[in-house]
């Protein structure tokens, strides 16, 4: 016996009530509903699953995954944040630092700067770096295919052309501010092939302020970049944010008409609720709740995706029993903002690939375990 459409909608809706949430757990498991088959089948998953794109820019992508469970959507999100490798500054060799920023603080600031470069080089040519054992030569494992060398050499000097009573340090001195763009990439070995011209390793944003200097202060250091993952340090995370929210649902159960409709509209962000005129036909139908209201405005849901689910509408007595708020359990609106080393959409595909590879390796491990 197949459940009715109404029942399916109820199961698929997480209730957002005035003070509580309801129906939060998934129930699509075999044995949960007598006589219903919820066994996993890839054909069934394929036919229920779909993707909708909302936005696709290099540093900002938004799309919906529809027909997938929270556990799977969450796995993708977690992989995006913590398990996709990027290149970041890992070692800082400070030759001289007479600025007011302490060495360790400076090193930390440098580590957090996002860099970009030739994609082929970063994704395919550069491989993992293995830290040498204690007592081993510290550079024993550093090669062109796992280490990128950067240098930062800045000295602040008095600007001889500045007016004698100049108060702005940026005009009175040269290099009063040290920016990310002052970092120089030093290609080594085969890196010349992968990271020259437009493909050079450069900071994603050249205007990140690293330190402030005064005349005769100097920063003189070299840096090694390695590949790493966000689980180890968030500087390696390829995303600024990777998050999802469930699609908001607004169900108007009884008509909201006239001045109430306008007030109802103001309970939601702009564009969520629209106002439509009650038609003569609707008004003539008895029991519709529109009787005698022809020509007045009624509230209709225009775009529930724009809603922030503030529950404001539930606070007003005039809307009591007229509106139900909820979220669709299997509709995930993803938003991915890349820090630059990957395209945002490419990142999601990488996360899917990553989960598959993880399962594949563990499947082999399970087979080995049984033997």
């Amino acid at each position: 016996m197949a459940p009715s459409a109404e029942e399916l909608l109820r199961r698929n809706t997480v209730g957002i009530n005035k003070e509580t949430v309801s129906n939060v757990a998934s129930t699509d498991f075999p044995g949960h509903f007598p006589g219903e088959d919820h066994a996993f089948s890839i054909e069934r998953f394929r036919s229920a699953f779909s993707v909708q794109f909302h936005r696709n820019e290099l540093n900002d992508a938004s799309f919906s995954l529809i027909g997938i469970d929270a556990s799977l959507a969450n796995a993708f999100r977690r992989i995006l944040i913590a398990e996709i490798p990027t290149l970041a500054i890992e070692d800082v060799y400070i030759e001289n630092n007479t600025s007011v920023i302490q060495d360790e603080v400076l090193a930390h600031r440098l580590g957090l700067i996002p860099f970009n470069g030739g994609r082929d080089g970063i994704h395919n040519f550069l491989k993992w770096y293995k830290k040498p054992e204690a007592g081993e030569d510290p550079y024993a494992n550093s090669f062109d295919w796992n280490t990128v060398r950067l240098e930062l050499n800045v000295t602040c000097t008095v600007n001889p052309d500045a007016a004698p009573n100049e108060n702005d340090p940026l005009k009175a001195y040269n290099h009063a501010h040290v920016y990310a763009k002052d970092i120089v990439f030093v290609p080594t070995g085969r890196q010349v092939e992968y990271f020259s011209g437009d493909n050079a390793i450069v900071p994603v944003n050249p205007d990140i302020l690293i330190a402030k200097l005064r005349p005769k202060q100097t920063i003189n250091l070299a840096m090694h970049m390695h590949k790493g993952i966000g689980a180890d340090h968030s500087k390696f995370s390829p995303v600024a944010t990777a998050s999802y929210r469930l699609l908001p649902l607004i169900h108007i159960t009884k008509p909201i008409i006239g001045p109430d409709a306008e007030k109802f509209q103001r309970c939601f962000p702009q564009g969520v609720i629209g106002l439509e005129k009650v038609t003569r036909e609707e008004a003539s139908k008895s029991g519709s709740g529109y009787e005698g209201h022809a020509g007045e405005f009624k509230a209709v849901v225009k775009d529930s995706m724009k809603d922030t689910v503030s529950r404001e509408a539930l606070r007003h007595p005039e809307f009591e029993g007229k509106v139900k708020l909820g979220r669709r359990r299997d509709h995930f609106i993803f938003s991915i903002e890349s820090t630059g080393q990957w395209d945002s959409d490419e990142l999601f595909l990488e996360a899917v690939k990553h989960l598959k590879l993880k399962c594949k390796k563990l499947e082999q491990q399970v087979i080995n375990m049984v033997q």
Binding site: F29, H38, R46, S50, N56, L72, I79, Q365, V366
Partner: protein
């Protein structure tokens, strides 16, 4: 990645096919293919050395077993729990991370029918199928969106 290995093995034997392989360094086909093959061989070697990360915990029987995964967490734990629970032969499945400072994740499986190990294997392979479907659908919808919006990259 057997799929990739195969594509590259083909590429080194007959260069013409390399044109069909989507993104790759076009300039030094031979050198690149050779280098990647070496890298692949290294990776395979590493995979052989890779320590056993799954074990059955003591006290387990054929139909009711607990598995300990090293270096896995909620990412895989919850996803795997979900797919295993979708198996009608499974009576019970749950995962836990016994202590947050130990990199271990335990999965408990009890079955009505068949062994717990088989349910685990099925779960891992179903999860791979899910990934294929998600990637395929994502890819087609992205291409469609990009061509509609005139995004070219």
């Amino acid at each position: 990645m057997p799929g990739r290995t195969k594509a590259q093995a083909d590429a080194s034997s007959q260069d013409a096919d390399m044109q069909d392989v989507p993104p790759s360094g076009q300039d030094e086909i031979n050198q690149d293919a050779e280098m990647r093959e070496n890298a692949e061989a290294e990776e395979e070697e590493e995979e052989e050395v890779e320590p056993q990360r799954v074990r059955i915990l003591p006290g387990s029987t054929d139909t009711a077993a607990s598995f300990e995964f090293t270096d896995e967490g909620h990412t895989l734990g919850n996803a795997l729990r979900y797919v295993i629970m979708k198996n009608p032969d499974v009576e019970f499945c749950a995962y836990s991370i016994p202590h947050p400072s130990e990199p271990k994740m335990n999965i408990r499986i009890q079955t009505y029918d068949g062994t717990a190990v088989n349910a685990l294997k099925k779960g891992l392979s179903d999860l791979q199928d899910v990934c294929d479907v998600v990637a395929e659908e994502f890819w087609t919808k992205r291409q469609q969106f990009n061509s509609e919006q005139g995004i070219d990259r």
